[in-house]
């Protein structure tokens, strides 16, 4: 293994200064919710551990995950992560093309057997022997299985890889199938959302690269540090929900006042994601802030739950906290699995703390 460079060596080779490197370590610590004491630990890990190669493959998808990843996030963190990823295989960004690119993929898999992370954007369609998505003359599902065989872990980027997303919407013409239904013998980290928030993507991958272990996952396999809270719980419009103040129609007086979008079909009460805390496009805003309800894109099956503009329940009267939770629970039955997540949160918090102690120790 000694021939693999450390992260630090890679960064220096890419022209990143020591000062920027230290800044990166402190950004990473804060992004992951770790204290300043972790900065030297992260630095030490990156100076001494061989880098973890990442292979990034694309199936049936729309490239929104790559797009989110390359343009959001803190420029420094993104540059560093991106430069490391691009060392290996990335369909959208790499320099080579055609068979040369396929050869590069084969070589990377061979060289880092058992040590690389496979990042999957999109999913394989299984109908017609996978012929609806062909990569290098073969169905994507074959590339996926081949690349996953020697991976040490798999990241499922976005709702497509995690759950199927809109291309699996009824009648699911191509039988688009989430990664975990095809790859069953590897640890899989789901990073859902359509797309996921850039900071969440860099946060997850940085954690894995830095600490060489999986982040703590909830029962749906999502990193608890980013998917542990409902949008609704951290929404800046939540006081209006509690006060029973709602937008009734687009651009009405209540919309101008920033009232709650629940009646406009907002799925914030049943959606676990970091939008209302981390926000989008470098922390500028998120859908609810732009006056449109959440569509619940980080939840399984969000594309087939009736209209996006239907209310999550038929409740018309509420306004106190107890009712809000009822709303959450009632609707959680619709969006499969959310109840289980809710129940698991406290356990996950404990687990997360344990992880941090382990790092310290």
């Amino acid at each position: 293994m000694s021939q693999i460079e450390t992260f630090y060596e890679v960064m220096r080779r890419q022209g990143i200064t020591r000062r920027s490197f230290m800044k990166y370590c402190s950004l990473t610590a804060s992004a992951l919710g770790l204290g300043p004491a972790f900065v030297p630990k992260i630095a030490h890990a990156m100076e001494t551990k061989p880098r973890t190669p990442v292979i990034w493959v694309n199936g049936l998808e729309c490239t929104c995950c790559s797009e989110s990843f390359i343009r959001g996030a803190h420029p420094l963190a993104k540059d560093v992560v991106l430069s490391m990823i691009s060392l290996d295989y990335s369909h959208t960004l790499m320099a080579s093309a055609g068979h040369q690119a396929e050869a590069a993929l084969a070589e990377t898999i061979e060289k880092y057997k058992g040590n690389y992370i496979l990042a999957v954007e999109g999913n394989p369609p299984l109908n017609e022997d996978g012929m609806f998505c062909i990569v290098g003359g073969k169905p994507f599902v074959e590339q996926l299985k081949w690349a996953a065989k020697d991976a040490k872990a798999v990241i499922s980027w976005g709702a497509c890889a995690s759950y199927g997303c809109v291309q699996a919407a009824a009648p699911n013409p191509t039988r688009a199938t989430p990664v975990h239904k095809v790859i069953t013998d590897k640890p899989i980290i789901k990073v859902p959302g359509c797309p996921p928030i850039a900071e969440v993507m860099t946060g997850v991958i940085t954690y894995m690269l830095t600490f060489d272990r999986l982040p703590e996952l909830d029962r749906q396999g999502r990193p608890a540090m980013f998917y542990g809270q409902r949008i609704h719980d951290k929404c800046y419009r939540r006081p209006h929900f509690d006060a029973g103040q709602f937008v009734e129609a687009w651009d009405d007086e209540n919309a101008r006042k920033g009232y709650c979008l629940y009646k406009m079909g907002c799925k914030g009460p049943t959606t676990y994601n970091a939008c209302s805390t981390v926000r989008w496009n470098e922390g500028t805003s998120f859908p609810i802030q732009s006056g449109h309800g959440c569509i619940g894109c980080s939840e399984d099956g969000f594309w087939d739950q009736g209209s996006f503009y239907d209310r999550v329940t038929d409740l018309t009267q509420f306004g106190v906290e107890a009712n809000a939770d009822q709303v959450g629970l009632a609707a959680a039955g619709v969006v499969g699995g959310a109840v289980a997540v809710h129940a698991a949160i406290s356990a996950l918090k404990r687990a997360q703390k344990k992880t941090q102690e382990k790092v310290e120790g």
Partner: protein, 477 residues
């Protein structure tokens, strides 16, 4: 492989949006025939059937993570058309601004991440500009790429503010936009645009944006000596990219950024002179697509994949034709149809250089458009008109995505979507042959491209294909 006719399959094609496979027949060192395969099919049109028509606003943007606002704008216009609704003027203005931000960012992405890195290939290492290209445009790490990605991320703050998130925004609705900008938002948008202008003037153009937008002739373009634009022009002149990959000379634009007084960039068909477009003259030919059915107008079209993938078909892509003929669409078409003098000069040239130069021209002009739009925001105005969807009806939404003409055709029956058909810009440009055997625009443009002995991924083919900026996920959807 150097003697006689040979067949070459290029794919997967990297640094394009989505999956693309090009099959070339090569004879005497040139491409004799080309066939384009869009190997990815998802079936969005089928999924939309039976849904609440408003769901098109959420589903169709997810066709593509690069042009998602274009898709949502087309869906909103198709719904508005079915409702008989005109958006609030200020809503249309903000929708235009949001859309312009996405389009200009797409052009920036194309130039830096997709097109220019080909000039850093070893095949060019004896050229005088090669070293500078490697420094500026090496894939994923070049210094120009880093700056462009940062400038683009900052420009996207406007989308964060006005559209909540990008990609896949939800803000554009049939009646306008969901977010009424405040005076503070307006000030921040203008500040963001000033910063983007600074980037364009310091790095990309190396001179005032107006100076590039005002270029009126090929000679004036060729004299341009500053910024990364000059580096492109130097390589383009050295490699004679003006004469590589020439198109048919027929250009289509549906007109970009509709405002109450008309589109900012005009709509029309140009084939030596400008004429109006009749959308009723569009047909989607299925003879060489793995699709079942007859050639039809999209309002009557259907999407039934042929599971046998029977010959002579070779792509999931349908072949749209206007009056039975192929047309090229994109920034070059848009600027020609709008009558810009430099674009008109480039119209006759119609090759790789013309397409890339037109995109640069459009970046400069769109910066000015965005500044005018943002200055025109009146926070006290209404931003959303309300309407009702008919129980039965039909609508058409025609917009200009970064890559060209995009149309949505919608039929509503009993309050649900009965039919939804989409023709994306890359469907026009990368279409397969039609029943008459006429190749699609890119297939035609590839004929005659030089192939050096031993080349397995001919660089000339790379330049031509990328000059069209394919978005393959939109193509078939």
């Amino acid at each position: 492989m150097t003697e006689g006719p040979a067949r070459l399959v290029m794919g997967p094609f990297n640094r394009v949006e989505g999956d693309l496979e090009v099959t070339l027949e090569i004879a005497e060192g040139r491409v004799a025939a080309a066939r384009i395969n869009a190997p990815l099919f998802r079936g969005f049109e089928r999924m939309l059937e039976g849904r609440d028509p408003r769901d098109a606003l959420t589903i169709t943007p997810r066709i593509c993570g690069i042009c998602s606002i274009s898709q949502s704008a087309a869906a909103a216009r198709a719904l508005a058309d079915a409702m008989g609704l005109a958006p609030e003027p200020q809503g249309a203005l903000v929708a235009a601004l949001i859309h312009a931000v996405e389009n200009v960012a797409d052009h920036l992405t194309h130039f830096h991440l997709f097109f220019m890195p080909d000039f850093t290939r070893p095949v060019y290492d004896t050229r005088p500009w090669h070293g500078r290209m490697v420094d500026r445009f090496t894939a994923a790490t070049g210094s120009a790429l880093t700056r462009a990605v940062a400038a683009r991320a900052e420009l996207f703050h406007i989308l964060g503010m006005m559209a909540g998130k990008w990609p896949h925004t939800l803000a554009i609705q049939p009646g306008g936009v969901t977010k009424a900008p405040t005076a503070r938002d307006r000030a921040r948008i203008l500040a963001t645009l000033r910063s983007f202008r600074r980037y364009l003037e310091e790095v990309l153009f190396g001179a005032p944006v107006e100076a590039f937008a005002d270029l009126a002739s090929l000679a004036a373009l060729e004299r341009w000596a500053t910024g990364d634009v000059a580096l492109f022009l130097e390589a383009a002149a050295d490699l004679d990219l003006a004469h590589l990959g020439r198109g048919s000379g027929r250009y289509l634009s549906f007109g970009a950024y509709p405002l109450p007084e008309g589109p900012v960039f005009a709509a029309g068909l140009w084939d030596g002179s400008r004429r109006s477009v009749d959308p009723a003259a569009i047909r989607e030919d299925l003879s060489h697509a793995w699709m079942l059915g007859e050639a039809r107008h999209p309002s009557q079209g259907e999407t039934r994949p042929d599971e046998d993938m029977a010959a002579p078909a070779y792509s999931w892509c349908k072949a749209p034709r206007l009056d039975g003929r192929t047309v090229e669409t994109g920034a070059l078409a848009r600027q020609i149809v709008d009558g810009h003098p430099l674009a008109l000069a480039l119209a006759a040239e119609g090759g790789v250089r013309a397409r890339v130069a037109a995109r640069l021209l459009e970046i400069a002009r769109t910066q000015l458009v965005m500044e005018t739009l943002a200055t025109g925001i009146r926070p006290e105005a209404a931003f959303m008109a309300r309407g009702t969807l008919p129980r039965d009806g039909a609508g058409m939404g025609l917009v200009e995505a970064a890559r060209g003409a995009l149309g949505h055709w919608l039929t509503i029956e009993r309050g649900r979507i009965a039919r939804y058909q989409i023709i994306a810009p890359t469907t026009w440009n990368f279409s397969p042959r039609d029943a008459a055997g006429v190749p699609g625009p890119v297939e035609a443009a590839l004929e005659g491209a030089p192939v050096q002995p031993g080349e397995t991924t001919p660089v000339s083919v790379q330049h031509i294909v990328r000059s069209f900026d394919p978005c393959m996920v939109c193509t078939v959807h």
